[in-house]
């Protein structure tokens, strides 16, 4: 069981560009699965390499169970990283690849062989021992890379987008597998992804990174229910943001006043955010305003409407049956459930 703490972790590759990782503070819980989520280039891989000891931080500290590990070489950290592009050793067989870590530890050959076989069973590629990496598909290589890491029973497992090359079906299976192994072996795992859905499905906690800076570190549902900024809400699929003034549990906007008990700020200029799934059409009462349907799309599992409320347009995701009830151009009451409204501080940058 290893608890990993990053404090003020910073990496500057060159002085002229902004830091790749900027003052990152993170408590990665022991035995849990933490997702490092963020758009491409936000510093996820860089952070992982620093934890693994493959890159030296410019400043800041990394501790395992409270002890700084910055002076410990990568091979002695017990943190194994699985790379984004798998990097199987091309001139070795699959068995030699998987057994590599054990060979470095001078484990007996026979034992290596049996453990390699076990690993191949675990990642559901039995009988692949004698193949060469180039004879495998991307998804198969990814699973071999995972097996090669797991075989050394790391204290900390660092997975850099390990599922990016799998098809939907295999991805679900591998998610289950990673989750199962992770819980069984109770390995502290950091999992990099740029797919918010994957992070939500897999992680105990998500650390969201933009431009090398930590935006929010929370349990998955918090990113939907209480994102700390408009950018975060947008990254998690939020679409409706209405600027206004917040005071005494109510937010006053250009299209009306809404009750909003839940908020990230105490008062002042703020933004009303409501997820498209929480916007209901055709029911009036408290917290509702009249709108005009602009357009709609029938997606199958749900329907998506765009509704004009004065100068503001909001998106509503509804039961697919509603496409039969409303036509484009109809006037409909639009209700924002007060418990689903989340008031965020004013947007720092409006794209």
């Amino acid at each position: 069981m290893t608890q990993v703490t990053l404090s003020g972790l910073t990496k500057i590759f060159d002085e002229k560009s902004p830091p790749a990782v900027d003052q990152l503070n993170l408590e990665i819980e022991s035995g849990k699965l933490t997702a490092l989520l963020g758009p491409s280039g936000c510093g996820k891989t860089t952070t992982m390499k620093m934890i693994a000891g493959l890159l030296r931080p410019t400043s800041g500290d990394i501790t395992f169970n409270g002890e700084s590990i910055l002076s410990i070489p990568p091979e002695d950290r017990g943190a194994v990283m699985v790379f984004q592009n798998y990097l199987l050793f091309p001139y070795m067989t699959i068995a030699e690849n998987i057994g590599f870590g054990l060979k470095m530890r001078k484990v007996d050959r026979k034992e290596i062989r049996t453990r390699v076989t076990d690993m191949l069973d675990l990642v559901q590629l039995p009988g692949f021992e004698d193949r060469k990496p180039r004879q495998l598909s991307g998804g198969q290589q990814q699973r071999i890379a995972l097996a090669r890491a797991l075989i050394v029973q790391p204290n900390v497992l660092l997975l850099d987008e390990p599922l990016s090359n799998l098809d939907a079906h295999l991805r679900d299976e591998m998610r289950e597998l990673i989750r199962r192994i992770q819980t069984e072996m109770a390995i502290t795992t950091v999992f990099v992804t740029h797919d918010q859905e994957e992070a939500v499905v897999l992680a105990d906690r998500i650390a969201l990174l933009f431009d090398g800076r930590l935006q929010q570190f929370d349990v998955p549902d918090a990113f939907f229910e209480s994102p700390q900024s408009v950018e975060i809400a947008k990254f998690f699929g939020g679409t409706n943001f209405i600027p206004g003034h917040y005071e005494g549990g109510e937010i006053t906007t250009a299209i009306g006043r809404f009750r909003a008990p839940r908020s990230a700020v105490d008062g002042g200029d703020a933004v009303l955010s409501i997820r498209p799934e929480a916007v209901t059409l055709g029911s009036d009462g408290g917290n509702s305003v009249m709108g005009r349907i602009r357009s709609h799309v029938y997606v199958g599992r749900y329907a998506r409407f765009r509704v004009a409320l004065g100068d503001i347009e909001v998106e509503a995701i509804t039961d697919p049956a509603q496409v039969k009830l409303f036509n484009d151009g109809d006037e409909v009451p639009v209700r924002f459930d007060s418990n689903k409204i989340w008031v965020i501080g004013p947007a720092s940058s409006q794209p």
């Binding site: 493959l54 990283m81 001139y91």
Partner: protein, 306 residues
Amino acid sequence: MKWPEPVSRTRRLSRTSLSEKAAQRLTIALLLTPAILVILLLFMGGLITGFLRSLGYFPLIGLNDFNFAAYTTIFTDNGFIRSFILTFHIAFTSTLIASILAVASAMLLRPAFRGKRFVQFIFSLNLTIPHLVGAVGVLYLFSGSGLVSRLATGAGLIDSPAGFPAMVNDPWAIGIIIQYVWKEIPFIGVIVLAILLSVGEDYESVARSLGANRWQAFRNVTLPLIMPGVVSASVIVFAFTFGAFEIPWLLGSTFPKALPVLAFESYTDVDLAARPQAMAMAMVIAVMSSLMILAYMKVSRRYVRS
């Protein structure tokens, strides 16, 4: 020419593409013919002529029979055998030392550092310097009256320049080897460096992360990745140093002489009867170079696999 009615579209397509392929191949062959002819005339012509003369067939000077006399002579000649061993020693030792030092330099030159471009420029500079200049340098530095010898005397390491170990025209061919190593390190090194930079450091990172220390990562990951490049470059170096004439001629001992020198001297001998022997030696150099290269490649391949 009329094709039979096509059975299906695909069949017709494949037929067309087949004939097109044949035509393409013919075009390529025709385009290559001049180059192939030149190679055949120069290389094979030279080799065949040389081979015939080594068998004693040289009508111009009245030698019309085929015999193995030249070969019998050289193979029973102790001097020839010694020359052969010396030449092998020069080629093998220079290639081995140059390869090791080249890999080490390439590893040192790989990471980014201040002034790297300048260092790299200096490193590859002597690729442009002729071997002859290098030989003069070796003479100037390492001969009995050379700079190193005089410095060593000045520093009191040896009593007089005469006490300096023979490194030029010496039986161990140290001067020759120094010159070859100096000249070939950048040749192999530049190739290895290019491979190292294109492969990147991620494979080593994986190895380190999986528990390999620096040396293990180098031995098990870096080396196998660069080995094909090292082998190809050093095979060229081996073949060159086995057959090259000028450096052993300048820096070599009077006995034994390196094979190319021996062959050259036999060839230019006033006694025309020595010519078949010169040609036989040249044939031996050619065959041995080829054999060595084959063996060397086999050994290196096995090394890569393990």
